[in-house]
């Protein structure tokens, strides 16, 4: 590194970055890995293929995926509204979006459970109108995860929409495109990379979410028990190796999913000339 940069400090900066990564990320993760290695492969496999564990993986990843998809759609609509339309109280509304970031997740979980339980304000209405129970069912988990995931989508799409050149829409219209064609062929492709990032963030957060989910999930084994809860249960039984085995598997699965989302991201950007 010669001194051609205006801002010096490559060495301390990279040193700090590596030190931080090692201390906060790599060392704890390796500890987890080592702990898991106390198990034999057969033992590890037995823990994972336990029907209750498998069911919890299905619940966790399934509800996180569904919730992230809904967050993606809702978040896009909200970001669009915030960027495109002036309305009274917009600033307040904008600030409210971030609330799930700040709110202790347990508080969110308790409040959501109280509202959506069969006797709660909204839960009662839905129960009476459609006969659907939200809280204490897998559906409740999805609701909680949408609540948690939405700000990620809104905050990633918003700046991209703000930067979007509206003249492109006018150009499309002047060339004879309908509104739907303009949206699908011009707006969506430009927003998609940001929407995918928002989706991935919401999903990653949803998989690991604990506080807000356990209050609304009902935590029925095989039905609405999430992986993090299962890990806590194992820890409470002093089954550290079992807990880390599940944790490590979850980590690997999440990593693979995020990797494929990044791959999708790369493909979308490349196809649309943004690489």
């Amino acid at each position: 590194m010669s001194q051609s940069n205006i801002m010096p400090g490559f060495r301390p900066a990279i040193g700090f970055t590596l030190f931080y990564l090692a201390l906060i990320v790599l060392i704890p993760l390796s500890a987890m890995l080592l702990k898991t290695f106390q198990l034999s492969l057969d033992e590890y496999w037995a823990i994972l293929t336990n029907p209750r564990v498998l069911a919890s993986f299905r619940v966790s990843f399934g509800s996180a995926l569904i919730a992230a998809a809904f967050s993606g759609i809702f978040g896009f609509i909200i970001a669009w509204t915030l960027v495109r339309y002036p309305f009274p109280g917009k600033k307040v509304f904008d600030a409210l979006i971030d609330l799930p970031f700040a709110l202790p997740t347990a508080v969110a979980g308790i409040v959501l459970a109280a509202i959506y339980e069969p006797k709660g304000w909204i839960g009662k209405l839905v129960m009476e109108a459609f006969g659907i129970q939200i809280a204490y069912k897998p559906l409740g988990i999805v609701f909680a995860l949408i609540f948690i995931g939405l700000p990620f989508v809104v905050r990633t799409i918003e700046p991209v929409l703000q930067e979007f050149d509206k003249a492109m829409e006018e150009a499309a219209a002047s060339l004879g495109a309908t509104r739907l064609q303009t949206f699908i062929k011009v707006i969506l492709p430009n927003i998609l990379p940001a929407a995918i990032t928002g989706f991935a963030l919401a999903f990653a957060r949803g998989v690991g979410e604990y506080g807000s989910v356990i209050f609304i999930a009902g935590n029925m084994p095989y039905v609405s028990e999430i992986v993090p809860l299962l890990i806590i249960t194992k820890l409470e039984q002093y089954d550290y190796a079992g807990a880390t085995a599940i944790g490590l598997t979850m980590l690997l699965l999440s990593f693979l999913l995020l990797l494929s989302v990044n791959g999708l991201q790369w493909w979308v950007r490349r196809r649309s000339g943004q690489l």
Binding site: A171, A172, S174, L175, G176, T178, S272, G273
Partner: protein, 362 residues
């Protein structure tokens, strides 16, 4: 008449952007909407396109009233100031866009689209760029692709918003002439917006001068330049020296041999090349000296100052061919006399009335 505007008015809040605009543009014309920034020229162009709605008045395209039609149904080609190319599409897909979004019964086959796009690409001389993305192009290339994209749907009217505004000076010069030739080739009624009077003069066959939401004058470049209808047009188009007679500038004219009985509210506008200069001997009484001069190529610009003259110390500019300048043998600080070959007279008290604009020849 290809484009007719009748009584167009537009307000943005308290600001009146356009005020009762009436304009007729014949088929096949190449028209410049020229004016200083904020004069309403872009708003007018957007109203013609249907990207903006007028508060009042009607727009007719080829005799059809299109006031209530959306931009999608007006069949116009619009080229945006910053091109507005679809940045997620290749050059080819950008140009094909207008053809591909047609309803399926009107949509040409993919083979026809391919041929049409390549024809347009060779028209704008950029066929070799067809698989690039807009971000990989230079400004001039983007401009030409934007034009090709607008032409793909065979519009009846082509509208360009500051088409050369964002380009380098040298690219701009090339593209101006290219646009003029292209227009000859295509014969599409074309309107472009510009604030650059030189550009308007060079490209357009008709110029519409706008100021503060009103049309000041409409005519060919020669008409606009040679007989400006008011002091705004005269000042805005080309270089001009303004002599405000009430403010004592009459001394200048007196020194050039022009004496007026009543100077109230009168201004004289004199183009630099309408001012003749002659060298005087050092001992002569003339208060005018040659302060400085610049070589502009074929012509020389002379800075004349009358600092010695009572009351109105200012500088005026004259221009002459460089050969003539050499013959005169002028040097900085020389005393000179001037004569005015041609002036436009305006009565500022009634700025819209061109009555005082009788040409004055000496």
């Amino acid at each position: 008449m290809s484009i007719t505007l009748s009584n167009i008015s537009k307000r943005f809040g308290a600001f009146s952007a356009l005020n009762n605009i009436n304009l007729e543009i014949p088929d096949g014309d190449l028209v410049a909407l020229l004016g200083p920034s904020g004069c309403g020229k872009t708003t007018l162009l957007r109203i013609i396109a249907g990207l903006e709605q007028a508060d009042q008045g009607d727009v007719f395209l080829r005799g059809d009233k299109v006031t209530d039609k959306s931009v999608k149904n007006r069949h116009i080609g619009f080229v945006f100031q910053h091109y507005a190319l679809f940045r997620h599409m290749t050059v080819f897909d950008n140009i094909a866009f207008g053809l591909r979004v047609k309803p399926s019964k009107d949509r040409p086959s993919e083979a026809v689209i391919r041929k049409r796009v390549h024809d347009l690409l060779s028209l704008v001389q950029l066929d070799w760029l067809h698989d690039r993305f807009p971000d990989q192009l230079s400004g001039g290339q983007r401009q030409r692709i934007a034009l090709a994209r607008a032409l793909a749907v065979e519009p009846s009217v082509l509208l360009l918003d500051e088409p050369f505004g964002a380009l380098d000076a040298s690219v701009r010069k090339d593209l101006r002439l290219w646009l003029r030739h292209l227009h000859h080739e295509l014969d599409v009624t074309t309107i472009f917006v510009t604030h650059d009077q030189e550009e308007a003069m060079e490209v357009a066959s008709q110029i519409v001068v706008l100021n503060k939401g009103k049309i000041e004058q409409k005519g060919t470049p020669s008409e606009i330049y040679d007989s400006p209808s008011n002091d705004f047009v005269s000042h805005f188009i080309g270089q001009t020296n303004v002599f405000d007679l009430q403010k004592g500038d009459s001394a200048w004219l007196k020194s050039a041999g022009i004496v007026l009985d009543d100077a109230e509210g009168i201004t004289a506008h004199v183009r630099p090349h309408h001012i003749g200069v002659e060298k005087l001997s050092d001992g002569s009484a003339s208060p005018i000296i040659l302060k400085d001069w610049q070589h502009l190529g074929a012509t020389i610009r002379l800075e004349l100052s009358n600092e010695g003259l009572n009351g109105s110390a200012k500088t005026i500019y004259a221009e002459m061919p460089s050969d003539q300048f050499k013959q005169l043998g002028l040097d900085k600080g020389d005393k000179v006399s001037l004569f005015i070959k041609h002036a436009h007279w305006f009565n500022l008290a009634k700025p819209q009335v061109p009555e005082a604009a009788t040409d004055f020849y000496v």
